[in-house]
Symmetry: C2
Subunit: 211 residues, 2 copies
DNA sequence: GAGGTTAGTGTCAGCCTCTGACAATTGACA
DNA sequence: TGTCAATTGTCAGAGGCTGACACTAACCTC
């Protein structure tokens, strides 16, 4: 943020991002045109595409930050931790750290509402799942290196990470459907669901149906 | 397939589908325009959109058949089977049944090559993951009903199905990357990876690194 | 501080996906 | 054979996205 130029650029980008998220969450992603976003910030449509690769890119700009944060958190876990435990700790601590990371760019409330929009917009949900898949690949390589196994010969890193990702997806989905759209709620859901994976796989659900 | 009209429609649809998949797999999905597909079958662009909701819809027309087949296979499993075992049997038997199901519409080889294209095309991969998520939701409800639990109150059905789906994704990915693009190869990979989930989750990979 | 350099922006033209409207064609059926 | 209905083609247009080029504003040097 040295020169006037850079500050102006930063401001334009943030204005575009905020306008985009605001429009997406209020009137829907599909019903928001790039022209509208550009007009709300009073720049040309062409300028929008100079800051974002497309509508989708704007929709996930904040998510991208939290993903990076999560990867860094996994990398920072002590080497003696078992893989799944490292992932669990990283995600739980990640939910706490989001507030600080995100709020530099966008109101935290807007970011949380955007989750709902993503979950209920087919095109965005698809993009979200693909992004998650990419992150999982990164994490799988990271864990494989940590544990000293070959990620291409041994399927266990990818399997473990995929299972973890699957639990996270179910968590997000349930969280978005509920009323309590707070960080505390998602943190609690995350821990709860991670604890139930084992029980879910053994598959004797009929024994105790009062879950 | 009674009237001449219906036969013509069927032929047009199959011609469009085959032309689309052929073009997608040879010159790439993004580099194929709808105009090209329509021209290859000698119909107007508008007609293509009367048969398919979009390029993407054409790309997944065959996958949609196999997904339905899988859901039906799960529904047909005996009630005494544990959930995960039912899924395992359904998918393994599904891989065998694909040949018959698919070949009525498209050469089996073309369908298998399409998997690779999907896996290597970001837009298609995203759509594929979303479709899988939708199928998983269907299966989760099915299993919940089978086991007599409430799918919205008890997270275990969704968790189990999500984990299963995660394993399938890793399997598909590895299969597409390899050389042997046959049904036997994917069947074997599927069984192998399903067997390794437990081992992957316990997370003591360092003990035996020779997987 | 004037003048040249560079970065960011606006404008314009164009491609591609997809949709609605209307007219033309073709199969179905009495 | 003539009417009816379904299928198709044509046309126009919205919306996402990109390349080219000119213009403006910030930067940097003298």
């Amino acid at each position: 943020m040295e020169t006037l130029r850079e500050r102006k650029k930063q401001r334009t980008r943030e204005a575009l991002l905020r306008a985009a998220l605001e429009l997406f969450t209020t009137q829907g992603y599909e019903h928001t045109t790039v022209d509208e976003i550009a007009e709300a910030v009073d720049v040309s449509q062409r300028t929008f595409f100079r800051y974002f690769a497309g509508k989708e890119d704007a929709a996930f700009a904040v998510q991208a930050m939290t993903e990076e944060h999560f990867v860094a958190a996994v990398r920072a876990r002590p080497a003696h931790e078992a893989p799944m435990e490292a992932l669990r700790q990283a995600i739980l601590q990640g939910w706490d750290a989001i507030r600080g990371t995100v709020e530099t760019a966008v109101p935290i409330d807007l970011h949380l509402r955007m989750y709902r929009t993503i979950e209920s917009t087919p095109a965005l949900l698809a993009a979200h799942l693909r992004r998650s898949a990419a992150t999982e690949e990164t994490i799988a390589r990271l864990l494989a290196e940590r544990e000293g196994v070959d990620v291409d010969a041994d399927p266990r890193p990818r399997l473990a990470v995929a299972v973890f990702g699957a639990v996270m997806r179910v968590t997000e989905r349930q969280w978005c459907k509920g009323d309590d759209l707070s960080l505390g709620a998602v943190r609690q859901l995350t821990a709860s669901y991670l604890d139930q994976v084992g029980s879910a796989l053994t598959g004797n659900w009929r024994a105790d149906r009062d879950h």
